[in-house]
């Protein structure tokens, strides 16, 4: 009997915890209101990429409320239906088809990760609705689909920008340390394709896997090759471990480490501590909006978003929240430009006509062959000094 009681208690406790965790979730689904515009969002709210999906959901939720307070679109409210893909491609496809078939969404924000983004493409193309991806893989827009748009700076823009900065800093011999996941591989392919153009030689080329606890063997090998600098292409928590291992191995002469937008996370500074000092990486201007120039339209848009987000959630938005902000507004902005009664196909055409839309990640100008719409002008270099992001300006 006692054992049964314990089982019941345990089950009860688990149930209470899962309820507690769900209390803050938005009301999903909801009754179909004939006069609302429904947009679907497939995000990674659990699984390894939950750190991306959660801020994305918050940003969309907050901005949709704001859009509706200001009268919605054509006087009709906008509703975003969230689905969790659990960082799983198959679940992303199921979620997308549910949103399309059962909820009749007119556009889909999907997804947090590159893998899930590519996986739902067939559903989107079959249904003929526009898809707005929040994932940074170059493949998202390089493998072009007329239905798919992308808000983050893809590696094919960020990598040449970063290599240009390295060249201007006098780096000719470069060591690479790459995350073996999709984001790192994508960056690696672009690096290898572009590096010759910048007169840089790759002298060491090492990888690490997600969840690795120690990168000293890789860094030891890279150091032995005598590079001028180390370029790390990684988005996960392991980046902090790399910086720590490098600082420990280097002693008085650690390698200078460079990185990309995946490293623009406050967790990196918290995790690496002193070892993060001097780390230099490329990213969009949302981390320090002054990069846009104080008083510019971009500056006003971005700081307004940062202020509202910080006030509501108690933490500042990261770059992923910024990508979601751009995603929802690129769709809603196009909807507002269309007359009432538009079709999803009209919406796709109108999004493609976006010209000079100012978002948190930069200024978007789409075209029939450019569904990312950003350029190197939307990027800048940061260095971590005294535990904060400091602008080091454009290389060229």
């Amino acid at each position: 009997m006692r054992r049964v009681m314990l089982g019941v208690l345990l089950t009860g406790a688990l149930f209470a915890m899962s309820l507690g965790g769900c209390a803050g979730e938005p009301d999903e689904g909801g009754e179909a209101a004939g006069d609302t515009y429904r947009i679907g969002a497939v995000l990674s709210l659990s699984g390894p990429q939950a750190g991306l999906g959660e801020p994305e959901r918050r940003a969309i939720e907050m901005e949709v409320e704001r859009i509706n307070e200001e009268g919605g679109v054509h006087g009709r409210p906008v509703e975003v239906l969230f689905e969790d893909d659990a960082t799983d491609e198959a679940k992303a496809v199921t979620a997308a088809s549910r949103l399309i078939e059962q909820e009749g969404v007119i556009a889909l924000i999907a997804a947090s990760g590159t893998g899930q983004t590519m996986a739902v493409r067939q559903e989107v193309e079959r249904a003929g609705i526009p898809q707005m991806s929040l994932a940074g893989g170059s493949v998202v827009t390089a493998q072009f689909s007329e239905w798919v748009f992308q808000t983050p700076w893809p590696n094919r823009i960020v990598v040449p920008f970063t290599l240009g900065y390295l060249r201007d800093s006098g780096v000719t011999r470069l060591g690479l340390l790459i995350d073996s996941g999709a984001y790192g591989k994508d960056g690696y392919d672009v690096i290898m394709a572009e590096v010759d153009r910048f007169g840089i030689e790759i002298v060491a080329d090492e990888q690490f896997n997600r969840g690795d606890t120690d990168m000293t063997p890789q860094i030891t090998k890279i150091r032995a090759a005598g590079p001028d600098a180390l370029l790390m292409w990684a988005a996960g928590a392991e980046a902090a471990t790399v910086l720590k291992n490098n600082a420990a191995l280097g002693g008085d002469s650690p390698l200078s480490v460079y990185g990309g937008p995946g490293n623009g996370r406050i967790e990196l500074i918290q995790g690496a501590g002193d070892a993060a000092e001097g780390f230099t990486f490329s990213a969009g201007k949302i981390l320090v909006p002054e990069a846009y120039g104080v008083g510019s339209d971009e500056y006003e848009v971005t700081t307004s978003f940062i202020d509202r987000f910080t006030e509501r959630f108690g933490v500042g938005p990261d770059i992923f929240a910024g990508h979601a902000y751009d995603g929802i507004y690129l769709i809603v902005d196009a909807m507002k430009r269309l007359p009432e009664g538009f079709t999803p196909e009209d919406l796709r055409d109108e999004i493609e006509r976006t010209d000079g839309f100012i978002g948190a990640g930069g200024t978007f100008t789409f075209g029939p062959t450019d569904h990312n719409g950003l350029s190197e002008d939307d990027l800048t270099m940061y260095r971590i000094e005294n535990g904060e992001w400091v602008l080091v300006g454009q290389a060229r």
Binding site: G7, N209, P217, G273
Partner: protein, 293 residues
């Protein structure tokens, strides 16, 4: 490649190896008591780091106390898991129990995700930063902690197994459960104790590594697989074998990076694992089953 660099690879291998060894010890303890592979072992590693971070950052406890809380609380989770889930399966069918541990690992990581959030969280180094030079190679002070804690755990286990009544009872269970029950040993209690110990060992590893790597709700499975491989490589059911397996696996990875490629380090380590098992299916130090009969 110079001697200093070679030594650096050896030190890295020892460091990773002793982490794997601690996790492998947990696998081995539970296997000895139940004949089951506990696939939630990686989650104990995660919880050890995560609960210590929680005690340190959220409760504001000093670091040594927070670490103690993290390890004890994880041990308690291990015990509750055994009482609430494993023991409920009365017939002890190994296949069913393994499935229960797989489910348990999912429950534990989802709960950690809900309670502590999706992002990685840091813990300060035990005794500040810095490193010492060993013949020119660099040894981080935290690595000395990891090696020391592993050594302490091994000595503690050896003492428990060879010098205490409880340890002898556990060994008796491992050799022959029915015979142990006949001589009056509470075999069920021994299973619970081994889950407590396994959870504490996993938690100790998580606690020692978190200052170097941070921790997150999803770090368990990767380390769990490595620890499992180490336990198999050494020979299941024998604590010394688990430590040997862990150190060999850590060295293999490090040497693969040094002489072949970091791209294939896990593949190379697993190919060697398969090769060893082909020659010695019972593991490097494992006793073959036939001897037992």
């Amino acid at each position: 490649m110079g001697g200093t660099e070679l030594l650096q690879f050896v030190l890295a291998g020892l460091k990773n190896g002793s982490i794997y060894a601690l996790v492998a010890l947990g696998f081995t303890l539970i296997y000895a008591a139940t004949g089951v592979i506990n696939f939630a072992q990686g989650e104990f590693y995660m919880l050890g780091g995560m609960l210590s971070v929680w005690a340190y950052a959220d409760l504001g406890l000093p670091l040594p106390l927070a670490g103690l809380v993290g390890v004890m609380a994880t041990a308690a989770v291990g015990g509750v898991f055994e009482l609430g889930a494993i023991r409920q399966r009365k017939d002890g069918d190994p296949l069913a129990l393994i499935v229960i541990t797989v489910g348990g690992s999912m429950v534990l990581s989802s709960m950690a995700r809900h309670l502590f959030g999706p992002n990685e969280r840091p813990l300060p180094l035990f005794s500040g930063g810095g490193s010492v030079s060993v013949f020119g190679a660099v040894l981080e002070v935290q690595t000395i902690w990891i090696l020391g804690l592993t050594a302490l755990a091994v000595v503690g286990l050896w003492y428990l197994y060879n010098r205490t009544g409880l340890g002898r009872a556990m060994r008796a269970c491992a050799v022959n459960r029915d015979a142990a029950r006949i001589v009056g040993i509470d075999t069920r209690l021994m299973v619970t104790v081994s889950f407590l110990l396994a959870a504490a060992l996993g938690a100790l590893a998580g606690l020692a590594v978190t200052p170097l790597t941070q921790t997150a709700f999803d770090v368990g499975p990767t380390v769990g697989i490595k620890g499992f491989a180490a336990a198999i490589l050494g020979g299941l059911g024998n604590p010394i074998a688990a430590v040997v397996g862990g150190l060999v696996l850590g060295m293999l990875e490090s040497v693969s990076i040094a002489f072949i490629s970091s791209t294939y380090k896990d593949a190379i380590a697993l190919i060697v694992l398969l090769g060893v098992l082909f020659v010695r299916p019972q593991g490097i130090l494992g006793r073959s089953r036939r001897e037992k009969v």
